[in-house]
Amino acid sequence: MTSSLRFLWPWLALAMLFAGAPQIYSSGSALTMMSVMGEMIIFALSFNMLLGQTGLLSFGHAVYFGLGGFVAIHAMNALIRAKVGVPVVVIPLVGGAAGLAFGVLFGLISTRRAGLVFSMISLGLGELVSSSSFILRSFFGGEEGITTNRTKLAPFFGHKFGSQIEVYYLVAVWCFFCIAAMYALTRTPFGRMCNAVRENGERVEYVGYSAQTIRFIAFSFSAFFAGIAGGLTAVNFEIMNAQQLGAQQSGLVLLMSYIGGIGHFAGPILGAILITFLQITLSDVTNAWQLYFGLLFIGFVLFAPGGLAGWLMLHRDAALKRELWRLAPAYGMVAPALAASFAGAVMLIELAERQLALARSEGSAMRLFGFEVDAASMGPWLMGLVLFCGGVGLTWLVWPKVTGAWGSLTSA
């Protein structure tokens, strides 16, 4: 009884979270954002099936996401034209099937090798598909993309999915089951063999498995789930264009998964939520949001290769040992230094953005952290520089305390 409860409660909590989120954030923009988050969670988890679990770094994962979405949107249009009574709820499955089909096709080529050769083929295939999207205009719709209207499909128990809340629940249900399915997959013997392939392909061969077959199956599964995410995106936005299978989308999913943490199953979920949130809110606040993304990514690669999830898991272990308090003094010392360097960096970037990109058209006056400043004057620049350099210097001085605190903790 207790063991089944221990197993079930995270899933119950997740289901509650999905069901309850619209009660708390009920505005239209919040619903749209949460729908996108759901799609990105599936996409990022499918990506991590390759990178985190099988050790295959793909630079063209958006191909399966995008192709799934395009096939889904064409299927929707065909169903509308033929007046076949298929409800919109099964459309993501069409996307998944398309993702699977292309995954099998391209997987046969690309999973014959692991490592760098795999990465390069995935990059080549990604570029191949995204550059042919400008040639095959009738399928990819050229610059404008392909549009559809989901409300013209057959209603599902009276729901026509015209409002965003209905779409949100559609995404939430699909997202929940995809998370469950992908988690279940990691618990099967096959999931364990994927990990073994990641750790040491040669020894897998000695045990009697074919590493190539395992890579191929993992790749196909991953493309299937990416296709579902693409299908959901097609339903949500009612439009697909070539950007959604391009290099930028492939880079975005890598960013999400890595920042969330590729070493833990829940990592990509965290990353997808955080990056989608930042992507939508940050682009309203600053023009330089992509620069922040890049710097955030580099920061994680350099200083926290475990990602958010890795960082959280470390602290959970400390908390379970009831030793979290030992870290508090060191954290208390390093936090102001980190905050200062962060604020300084933001100030410098914003000032530079204003002075270099916007001053000619909009003048150099701007609001920074609620203060009116002039980007053409020396004052704010000096302050930003002092904050940044001082913060970095202090962090560098105080950091040994943090490592020392962690050291005392593991030895205790």
């Binding site: 080529i109 014959r112 090798r113 490592g115 080549g124 990514f297 690669v301 350099l302």
Partner: protein, 311 residues
């Protein structure tokens, strides 16, 4: 017809040599450090933009000298303070670092010089017609580019095969531990090679900037093609990179010149299926050809045309 062949050959060789200027640094860095540098094309872009900025104040020729040196310095700093820190975490971390770096450089360039192409022009001293053949003129600047690229190629060849530092570099490619044993500072050698490769990419940017378009997307446009070059040629093989650069340069230039579609080529045997696929002209197909080549080569010869190693 003959005129198309002559000019396409010239332009193809030029494009190929330009590719090789970038690919040589990339493949040298790869074989030494095992890092596939995603930011290499970004150094090329930085070269073009710095060349533009310097040429506005000091003229084109100063830019030609100073900009590659600056880019080389930036490259050396990236190796010293970025990649070297990440070495203990393995190659994937290093690869991802350069991936993020490429992203950041593109954003910075957009911030500083704007999203539109900048007005980086051919210097007046080179703005004349080199020769005229069958009523078509060939600009002198292109000849200058070709000569620079060939000179660089010769210099690289001499440095790598005839000088002491070149021999140490070659030795460090295969036996870094032994070279370190003999008392050479291998990490510093890595930094020098990385910096030199970046400088070469910067030089390619300075001379390509006025002829092509200097814009923030020039790195993302060229980057994937560079990977095609070094993978098709064989990872870590300089000769392979040279051959592949020329092949891709020539194939792409000739494809652009051919303005016939498959339905014209195949005539009545073109199947009715996939209507717009057969309407595609070979010129439109040009951007796809390198990737088709990459996928085909990797299927049939995963080590590339000349290379020996797989990863």
């Amino acid at each position: 017809m003959l005129q198309i062949v002559v000019f396409s050959t010239l332009n193809g060789i030029l494009y190929g040599m330009l590719l090789f200027m970038l690919a040589s640094g990339l493949t040298l860095v790869f074989s030494m450090m095992g890092v596939l540098n995603f930011a290499h094309a970004s150094f090329y872009m930085l070269g073009a933009y710095l060349g533009f900025e310097i040429s506005r104040h000091l003229g084109f020729w100063s830019g030609l000298i100073i900009a590659p040196l600056c880019v080389g310095g930036i490259g050396a700093l990236v190796e010293r303070f970025g990649l070297r820190q990440l070495h203990r975490l393995g190659h994937v971390s290093e690869l991802l670092f350069t991936f993020g770096l490429a992203f950041v450089i593109e954003e910075l360039v957009q911030m500083i010089w704007g999203k539109l192409p900048v007005n980086y022009n051919v210097p007046p001293s080179l703005d004349f017609v080199a020769f005229r053949l069958f009523d078509t003129t060939y600009p002198a600047y292109r000849m200058f580019m070709l000569l620079t690229a060939v000179a660089m190629f010769a210099a690289l060849l001499i440095v790598l095969t005839k000088t002491r530092i070149g021999l140490i570099i070659q030795a460090a490619l295969t036996h870094p531990d032994m070279v370190a044993m003999l008392g050479h500072n291998v990490p510093r050698l890595f930094m020098v090679v990385f910096g030199a490769g970046s400088a070469l990419a910067g030089l390619a940017g300075v001379i390509a900037g006025p002829a092509l378009v200097t814009q923030p997307s020039m790195a993302t446009l060229l980057g994937p093609i560079l990977f095609v070059v070094i993978v098709v040629g064989g990872l870590g093989s300089l000769t392979g990179a040279f051959v592949a650069s020329l092949i891709i340069g020539l194939v792409q230039t000739f494809a652009v010149a051919m303005n016939i579609s498959f339905s014209e080529l195949l005539g009545p045997i073109a199947p009715p299926l996939l209507g717009d696929l057969w309407q595609v002209t070979i010129a439109e197909l040009a951007p796809v050809i390198p990737y088709l080549l990459l996928v085909t080569v990797l299927i049939f010869r995963p080590t590339g045309l000349i290379g020996k190693r797989e990863s």
